[in-house]
Symmetry: C2
Amino acid sequence: MRVVVALGGNALLRRGEPLTAENQRANARAACEALAPVALEHELVVSHGNGPQVGLLALQGEAYKDVPGYPLDMLGAQTDGMIGYLIQQELGNALPFEKHLATLLTQIEVDPDDPAFQNPTKPIGPIYTAEEAEKLAADKGWAFKPDGDSMRRVVPSPRPKRIFGVETVEVLLQDGAVVICAGGGGIPVMYTDEPVPAGRRLIGIEAVIDKDLASALLAADLKADALAIVTDVDGVYADWGTPDQRKIDGATPEELSGSEFAEGSKGPKVNAACQFVEQTGGSAVIGSITETQAMLRGEAGTTVTRAR
Amino acid sequence: MRVVVALGGNALLRRGEPLTAENQRANARAACEALAPVALEHELVVSHGNGPQVGLLALQGEAYKDVPGYPLDMLGAQTDGMIGYLIQQELGNALPFEKHLATLLTQIEVDPDDPAFQNPTKPIGPIYTAEEAEKLAADKGWAFKPDGDSMRRVVPSPRPKRIFGVETVEVLLQDGAVVICAGGGGIPVMYTDEPVPAGRRLIGIEAVIDKDLASALLAADLKADALAIVTDVDGVYADWGTPDQRKIDGATPEELSGSEFAEGSKGPKVNAACQFVEQTGGSAVIGSITETQAMLRGEAGTTVTRAR
């Protein structure tokens, strides 16, 4: 099977855990040790989130006063380098030496008129108290929204329209490599009207694309058989937080379209899974990274298919 | 011809120019417009330096107090993402849409017993006054060395021993892609004694590899016909700074082995060029990025060959 595994931010950094180099490396190592058997059994593409990391780089950039902070496309590209490196190194350690691995940068086109630019929703960086958030909003003009009992910075998260470089991923998969790409939802870019040899000029834009939607589009473009969205929870739950809560083992996109999932913490993952299934007829599965292999056999997580 | 072009830090950021996002993008654009014709005529691999950028990220990391600064391998990987993105985007704009481009992360093995770890020499980050440097040395334990009339932070720059992922570059070149890789001299890694499925565990190490030596090794591994080391100066000069100064059009490694070059500002470039020529019999050329095409025809820059 050809499989795209989207690593959740929570699989790379646990909520509330300090964003140190050591924690990132330890979590990347655990994630990659769980993914190694998948790489041996399937054609594997790994994508990943970057919410905590891109937020940290933005804070570091603001803290250093001699040079203005960098825009989110360049910061996102920085996180792709850093996280991609950790995944490539740790997955490489966990696989036979002969297995090739390649980490590619991925530009993804978004629409500059996407309504997301008027309504930032994507949380990045650490969690703050209400008081800290208020001060940062006043100082830097950043937007904040509640996240559990805390506050987090939010940035525009436009829909991914087109992924550049899919043919390169295809070439490397056919060569037998594990490909790490579309990190942080891809680097957000848009077309301007300026004519250049390539057609119109492509430039970066200040946004962070949802990594699950980007991964669903990538999986569809690559004609993947399965999309696995892995995190630190073992599946999608009905009636979450009530005495009746129960894990959903299998569902169709129609069955999952109820607002209880779309609005919950699993909303973006459920949406992305449904989008991939509806567009391609492939199967999508949401669950814990430690169960990825069993999920791909339909034996763990929440499997989404067109029919049951 | 198969060509490796190593973009000097000075081709991406002019000395003393503030390291803003705008300056980096403008310089990357100019560099890529100069490289586009080369990509149309030859098989092209682009590597690049990261001295100013990795130094800036280190400063940003130190300025933000809530999380300790990251090690140089992770910072180097960040710069590879950022600079690689700018080059890929701007080179893509300057080439026909059909031309594929791929930016790959590159790990390069170094020897943990390399004497460079006892004698840091690689300048990174901005230039400082002697007073500023003294304060930073005291505060952060960083090492500094003179750079012209100013001071710069220096870090260990071990020799590159082995490049990982050359076979992936080869696959992409055969597919007709322009490959951007070995950024910042590659991400410095070393083997530990810990057994892992791949053999021994690979980990990052705090260093910045010289990008010209890394590019020479990459060019040799790829059996490139030519290595072009491009910067903002039009070649190697004899008697630089004297009334007799003159550009050297062509030379053998023996002719360039005089200490006047090895110790000058062109020293690392001359060394890397000679290494490539001696190892492979290919030709290396040092000169201005705006003349890259003419340099590859032997009509500009300083060409180094085994015999004349």
